[in-house]
């Protein structure tokens, strides 16, 4: 039987965690209690509330989690607003996985890895970071720089503080945009912090966050001597089908849903500036 790509599966929300004032993480399994499908870090899925709409989200959980999938979703539009109102036990639909993953089994292997995220941009990176932690010996040193508007906007801070910060050969640097009571960590924007840290330019870097952060952080990395061919990011454009047919996420001769969302900076250089 041909695989139906546009017909979703039913997912059950088994846990909802409020990460920040506008980000919640939803744990989802199939109606049989099992994980809906396998994926690789960086891949996405179409999540929908029938009657409201369907949207593409990155799968936040690591593929090494055999029990469930997680989606960290920021409330910012008409579908995410309804998703945020869901309660545990709610049924939604999920289809996927879609897109190209981070080259965790190819280019990343044996490399020192630098992850830079801003705000909800941590969502797709959490999948890679936890994958790398699971297969720790396959990778070198890991450095994570993560920033948000305030300490309350840092997504998944508990896992970061209790697990990531205690992982051997893994450094975590957090920053918030403005000083705040109860925060004794770094204050300042991600691009500036990255430059201050004087990072080793031989690392393979992965960036994810708002376009303005990506732009200035990339410039900073290039100044530090990073090579564009070893810097990766993910793009986000409107999607309907997820399989390169509906035409929406077309940029140049690429479809973000199918040829991305993960792109090397050198690949982005070849694309017209329209994303």
């Amino acid at each position: 039987m041909t695989k139906e790509t546009l017909i979703p599966k039913i997912g059950v929300v088994t846990d909802i965690r409020k990460d920040t004032p506008d980000v919640k993480t939803f744990r989802v399994v199939g109606t049989d209690g099992k994980k809906l499908f396998q994926h690789m870090p960086g891949q996405c899925a179409m999540v929908s509330i029938p009657g409201v709409g369907e949207c593409m989200f990155s799968i936040t959980s690591s593929p090494t989690n055999e029990e469930y999938m997680e989606f960290s979703i920021k409330k910012c539009g008409c579908v995410t607003e309804v998703i945020h109102a869901l309660e545990v036990g709610a049924q939604i639909t999920v289809r996927g996985p879609y897109g190209k993953n981070f080259p965790v089994e190819e280019d990343f292997k044996g490399k020192d890895l630098l992850f830079i995220a801003g705000g909800i941009g941590l969502a797709p990176l959490r999948s890679v970071i936890n994958y790398v932690r699971h297969y720790r010996s396959n990778y070198g040193k890991v450095v994570i720089v993560y920033g948000a508007r305030s300490k309350d906007d840092l997504v998944d801070i508990e896992e970061i503080q209790t697990e990531w910060m205690n992982e051997p050969n893994m450094e975590v640097y957090l920053t918030i945009d403005r000083p705040q009571e109860g925060w004794d960590g770094h204050v300042g924007f991600v691009p500036a912090y990255v430059k201050e840290l004087g990072l080793d330019p031989n690392m393979t870097a992965v960036l994810c966050g708002p376009p303005i952060m990506i732009k200035f952080t990339l410039a900073g990395l290039l100044e530090l001597g990073f090579e564009k061919s070893r810097v990766y990011t993910t793009l986000e454009l409107r999607m309907k089908c997820g399989v390169g047919k509906c035409g929406r996420c077309n940029v140049g001769d690429k479809f973000v849903c199918k040829d991305g969302p993960v792109f090397r900076m050198t690949e982005l250089d070849e694309l017209p500036d329209e994303y």
Binding site: L6, I10, G247, E274
Partner: protein
């Protein structure tokens, strides 16, 4: 090759219709479009261009995809498709046939779009050679021979007869069903018509458009061309070009609440619309110039770059005839296609 006298064509339609569905150009309220054939409808094979292309036979303008039923917290997904009855698509011109090849490369590429595929598999396509191409036609620019379209069956029509030649197994099967209406012969008449038509095609005003600049390696240069601004200035963003275009395939997927649950359907969409790329956090194409550019870059550069040089324009000329602002792909080709357009 077989032939059947023009005045007996109704018998042919009736015979096909007795076995399977028949879609054919029918004149209604002054416009010709593909419709289900019924006795008494005014078939118009002579009309060169149907208003809408036959793409909606495989990719309907709106199509229900699935239904969701909710009982308490439980959600159920119901596939609403039934078996597709075999049907014949009759009278497809060479340009529109080529357009189906363009659509196939999108919808039948892995992962296959099963909604499209089931209709496609159920269809036998009978093409009809052109004998009176119009000034807005430029299929020859894309290497299409309007006098010898492919398809499961190719037909030619002159003042006397319809000539019939099966090309594929599906075509042979259809031929066997209707063969007792046919007489043999017609090669000489077809050849004479082809020669005459080719003379017209060679003299058409857009017969010699230069496409040589539209190459993947020129993608960014073409994208950044200053001319897009002026070319697109009059564009209203009405989307007419995308709706009449036989190769435009962008679609939307939406949900519709009914008393019996939620219907998820898809419908044609247009890259010419401002909300096509609108997201909660922004829009990647905010101006009509960007949307206009996207449509033509996709047809002439992006699509060919993804599909071994095959253009996603077939020169049918519908957009030339239908744009309320007289903008069209010919003007874009003339402006950016290459130096021989001067």
């Amino acid at each position: 090759m077989f032939k059947i006298a023009k005045e007996r064509l109704n018998e042919l339609y009736a015979k096909i219709n007795g076995q399977m569905g028949l879609f054919i150009p029918v004149k209604k309220a002054g416009e010709v479009n593909y419709e289900v054939w019924r006795e008494g409808k005014e078939v118009s094979l002579e009309t060169l261009k149907t208003v809408k292309s036959p793409k909606n036979m495989f990719f309907p303008q709106t199509e229900n995809m699935m239904k969701f039923k909710t009982e308490g917290k439980n959600l159920e997904i119901i596939d609403v498709r039934g078996e597709k009855r075999p049907f014949v698509l009759f009278g497809v011109k060479a340009c529109d046939y080529k357009a189906i090849e363009v659509l196939d490369k999108v919808f039948l590429a892995d992962p296959v779009d099963t909604y499209y595929q089931s209709r496609r598999n159920a269809t036998t396509i009978v093409t009809l050679a052109c004998s009176k191409p119009e000034e807005s036609c430029f299929c020859s620019v894309f290497g299409i021979d309007a006098t010898a379209p492919q398809g499961d069956v190719t037909t030619w029509l002159d003042g006397e007869n319809l000539y019939w030649q099966a090309n594929t197994e599906k075509g042979e099967t259809l031929t066997a069903l209707v063969k007792d209406l046919f007489a043999e012969g017609g090669e000489a008449e077809v050849e004479a018509q082809q020669t005459a038509t080719k003379t017209i095609i060679d003299s058409l005003p857009f017969a010699n458009l230069d496409l040589s600049k539209f190459k993947p390696e020129n993608l960014n240069e073409l994208f950044n061309a200053a001319e897009w601004q002026e070319m697109s200035e009059a564009c209203l963003g009405c989307g007419t070009c995308t709706f009449v275009c036989p190769t435009c395939q962008c679609f939307d997927i939406r949900d519709f609440k009914t008393n019996e649950g939620v219907i998820r359907y898809r419908c044609w969409d247009s890259c010419m619309y401002s909300d096509f790329t609108l997201m909660a956090h922004g829009n990647s194409r905010t101006t009509q110039m960007q949307r206009f550019r996207q449509r033509f870059m996709h047809k002439l550069v992006y699509y060919p770059s993804q599909n071994d040089g095959l253009y996603s324009c077939v020169g049918c000329g519908r957009c030339v005839n239908k744009c309320p602002q007289r903008l069209n792909i010919v003007k874009v080709i003339k402006t950016l296609g290459g130096k021989d357009n001067d």
